[in-house]
């Protein structure tokens, strides 16, 4: 906690929900959440570096336990991709793997106890505001969802051609009658916009709500012995349940990524 400020429930929650924001220029947009970006980079470099190390030592003979573990993850992703996407692109499976691993590990940052980490950031790294979970930052989830959205548009245009894509915008799903063009366009726009929105906000909402509940239980635990007891027990229960949420949300995010890219390959 910040020295010299009184600790109230509001300030406690606000403290935990404040990003380490650094201005990069003029205006609200030109700000960077240093904690989000740095955590993402550290987690990503560790994860993909680990994968790369395993890859370098990979043998086609009897695999080591580490390699078997990585192969398990890869085969899991590969089977999911093969079940949904039947197109020619070899890039979809690596995209799905990257998405799954990255989202899973960023979500897993939520397992770090917030108040212990706040103390560590404060006293070890001299950082007053530092949020551990990048996926509880809407910027991260929007970035991932928009990247997937971009790939979706890219594959749509690649499969049908630019003309075909524009044609489909106006002529599907209701028909090619010029009177129906506005409705088709409206329908398609809603469909296109809803995808990245639901994609990103689902993940963001789950992780953000998870953090908030940890904080509320932490607040309860601060009210006294009974509160500490019940708050602690509930905290444990929520943490265990959160393991499911973390994995499930990563899985859903990956599956939606595959589904959206696969849908881009189907044309009317």
């Amino acid at each position: 906690m910040a020295a010299g400020t009184e600790l109230t429930p509001t300030s406690y929650i606000q403290h935990h929900l404040t990003f380490l924001a650094k201005p990069w220029g003029q205006g609200d947009f030109w700000t960077v959440h240093v904690d989000t970006v740095v955590t993402t980079l550290i987690v990503g470099v560790l994860c993909f570096g680990f994968l790369w190390l395993v890859t370098r030592k990979a043998s086609s003979g009897v695999p080591s336990k580490t390699q078997a573990f990585v192969e398990l993850a890869i085969e899991f992703v590969d089977s999911q991709v093969k079940g949904i996407y039947h197109g020619p692109s070899l890039l979809v499976a690596p995209i799905a793997l990257t998405t799954f691993v990255l989202v899973l590990m960023l979500n897993a940052m939520d397992f770090l106890p917030i108040d212990v980490m706040a103390w560590v950031y404060e006293h070890v790294f001299r950082l007053h505001n530092w949020r551990s979970v990048p996926t509880a930052d809407v910027n991260t989830t929007f970035a991932l969802a928009l990247a997937v959205f971009g790939m979706m548009i890219f594959y749509s245009i690649k499969v049908t051609g630019l003309g075909g894509w524009v044609h489909e915008l106006f002529c599907a799903p209701f028909g090619g009658n010029p009177l129906l063009w506005p409705f088709n366009l409206l329908f398609n726009l809603v469909e296109y916009l809803s995808k990245p929105l639901s994609h990103s906000l689902r993940l963001y909402g789950n992780m953000y709500a998870g953090e908030i509940i940890f904080m509320l239980l932490g607040l309860w635990a601060a009210t006294g012995v009974v509160g500490a007891l019940f708050g602690g027990v509930l905290h444990l229960g929520w943490a265990i349940f959160h393991i499911l949420i973390v994995a499930l949300q990563a899985y859903i995010f990956m599956m939606l990524t595959i589904v959206y890219i696969a849908m881009a390959h189907e044309h009317h």
Binding site: A21, W24, D28, F29, W30, T31, V32, H33, T36, V37, T40, L41, G44, F48, L51, W52, V54, T55, R56, A58, S59, S60, G61, P63, Q67, V70, E71, I74, E75, D78, L91, A93, P94, I95, L97, T98, T99, V101, L102, P134, D137, V138, N139, T140, F142, A143, L144, L146, A147
Partner: protein
């Protein structure tokens, strides 16, 4: 919920991670997995082949065994037949030999008896002549009475 430059940086980071995975991680591991799958599939096929070979060999061995058994029993039957034939032959030969020996013995005995009878007859004749000579107190001329003596001999 404030959207800012973080979004762009996160998107760039995400793209970089995708590139890294697609370039360095995925192809190598998939190759290793595919190669291992092929090795395992080959091994399984070889095992299946071996099992088939074994079944064929077992079948062939069974056939050879049955054939050998049949041949052996044939040989045994032949042997049995030969044996009984030989025994029969031997029996027949032995019987013939025995008959022959018995016949020869019988013939010899008959001969012997005849000879003995002849000798006895001669002796009796001599005895009779000697007796007669004693009775007559004189020498009997054998030549003179040869006919008589032969007649006696015949009657004995």
């Amino acid at each position: 919920m404030n959207i800012n430059l973080t979004l762009v940086m996160q998107a760039v980071a995400f793209a970089a991670f995708i590139w890294f995975t697609a370039r360095f991680v995925w192809p190598h591991l998939m190759r290793a997995i595919d190669e291992r799958q092929k090795t395992i599939a080959d091994g399984l096929a070889a095992g299946e082949q071996g099992r088939q070979n074994l079944a064929t060999a077992e079948k062939r061995a069974g056939e050879s065994l049955a054939e050998a058994k049949a041949k052996a029993s044939e040989i045994v039957a032949l042997g049995e037949k030969f044996k009984s034939e030989t025994i029969e032959q031997a029996k027949r030969d032995a019987k013939a030999e025995a008959d022959r020996i018995v016949a020869a013995a019988k013939a010899e005995i008959a001969q012997e008896a005849a000879r003995a009878r002849e000798a006895l007859r001669n002796q009796v004749a001599e005895l009779a002549v000697a007796g007669a000579a004693k009775i007559l107190k004189r020498e009997v001329d054998a030549k003179a009475h040869a006919d008589l003596l032969r007649e006696i001999q015949q009657q004995l």
